[in-house]
Amino acid sequence: MDVTATERALLAALADGLPLHPRPFAALGERLGLSEAEALETLRGLQERGVVRRFGVVVRHHELGYRANAMVVWDVPDAQVEAAGRVLAAAPGITLCYRRPRRPPDWPYNLFCMIHGRDRAAVLRALDWAAESAGLREIPREVLFSGRRFKQRGAVFGPASAGEGTWTSSTAAS
């Protein structure tokens, strides 16, 4: 997907967030030498093409009181993984769900999901419900609770571009 220099500049300018100003896109455009209409049009174009997947607030789960998170991984037969993933993704408490490659012998798991909760007990209750609803109760799994968090930021893609909620596409581990 080609991204123009203007689009990159706009995304870079938005890396720190939208200006908290009544006319934020006018303020943003001013910095980049664009009119408000041009800034809006550029952003809408990015959204229509799916480069920008959503626009909104990014919360820090820890500060919001979600002190526990687990990455739960499953070894689901390949023929079942998509159906299981779809059900799992829709279960309460599940924030992300991905299929990833197995890495035998160290790592036999191919379905990954993240569960956030106020504490570990809440995470495990959500897991119980999700496993039941996705038909995964008998499927081998492991629960990896998070310990220390060392870094959490949007990824940076060099001086001309920036950002991505690692919260979404790359947030496998959050």
Binding site: M1, G85, I94, R99, S170
Partner: protein
């Protein structure tokens, strides 16, 4: 955080209008004044509840790449290896987890080749193999937490 803060966070995680006066539109949906919404968002950002307020985009859409990587780090080397790994700007975030594979981090690079280069560099610096587990399918978009 009070009740209004919670409503704001819950409402705006789902999306934000892209238009001339987006705060006015969002404020109307919440039944508050535009200036109130802006002031609340500024305070939430100041308090660290919001890390960012803006677009989330796909690294792949910009020609970049993202992967999840894991390492089995000997406990007595954990601090030192953490420092080596986190020194790489490609490491977006890094979590300790309860498993023999105890270090899990996300790599985001400007090009797909950058992932291999970063992994090779980390393996060379630490002497520990890195398992690369890129996303093959995604079953859900968006992280949404009730405040």
């Amino acid at each position: 955080m009070d009740e209004l803060d919670r409503r704001i966070v819950n409402a705006l995680q789902g999306g934000f209008p892209i238009c001339e006066r987006p705060f006015a539109v969002a404020a109307e949906g919440l039944g508050i004044e535009e200036a109130t919404l802006i002031a609340r968002l500024a305070a939430l950002r100041e308090a660290g509840v919001l890390s960012r307020f803006g677009p989330l985009w796909k690294a792949e859409g910009l020609g970049g790449a993202v992967t999840l990587a894991a390492m089995a780090v000997p406990p007595d080397r954990f601090e030192a290896v953490t420092a080596l790994v986190n020194a790489h700007p490609e490491v977006a975030h890094n979590y300790e987890r309860t498993h023999r594979l105890n270090m899990w981090f996300v790599l985001a690079t400007e090009t797909p080749q950058g992932i291999d280069a970063a992994i090779q560099a980390i393996e060379a610096e630490t002497g520990i193999p890195v398992l690369n587990m890129p996303r093959e399918a995604e079953y859900h978009v968006g992280l949404r937490l009730e405040a």
